[in-house]
Symmetry: C2
Subunit: 80 residues, 2 copies
């Protein structure tokens, strides 16, 4: 069973890396760019047939290792 | 108009960062983990009402800056 996880800084947390990307894109001529934020992406494959159990395991992975819940939010979605 | 972009290493490219995460998760007790790959995630907001133009701009951003096409693939999706 495969899942996609995105981890991104919470709205109120400064994203200096995203800001650098934003400025560079503006310098490259993308003047209609309003905002860009950078985060992490994980593609996770599990040996587990029970969807609910698999989803719970992925959630625990996020909470224990992949995301820093103080400053980051995560989103899990199943990929076919 | 808002887009999500994921950038991930091509299938045949080694992902040492992902391997470290995978080993750490196994050490934490997630024994049903089969595979994990790590990539980048971008949330891009554009001042552009024409969806086709906006999508093209995001594609160009990926090609010019966000992804290294030799070793990475990218995927663009529109968020509401």
């Amino acid at each position: 069973m495969k899942f996609s996880v995105t981890v991104i800084l919470k709205k109120d947390v400064l994203d200096p890396q995203g800001k650098v990307v934003q400025n560079t894109l503006k310098d490259l001529g993308f003047l209609n760019l309003k905002n860009i934020r950078q985060g992490k992406f994980f593609e996770i494959e599990l040996n587990e047939n029970d969807e609910q159990k698999a989803k719970n395991a992925v959630k625990q992975m996020c909470e224990k290792l992949l995301a820093n819940l103080i400053i980051e939010d995560f989103k899990i979605s199943k990929t076919k």
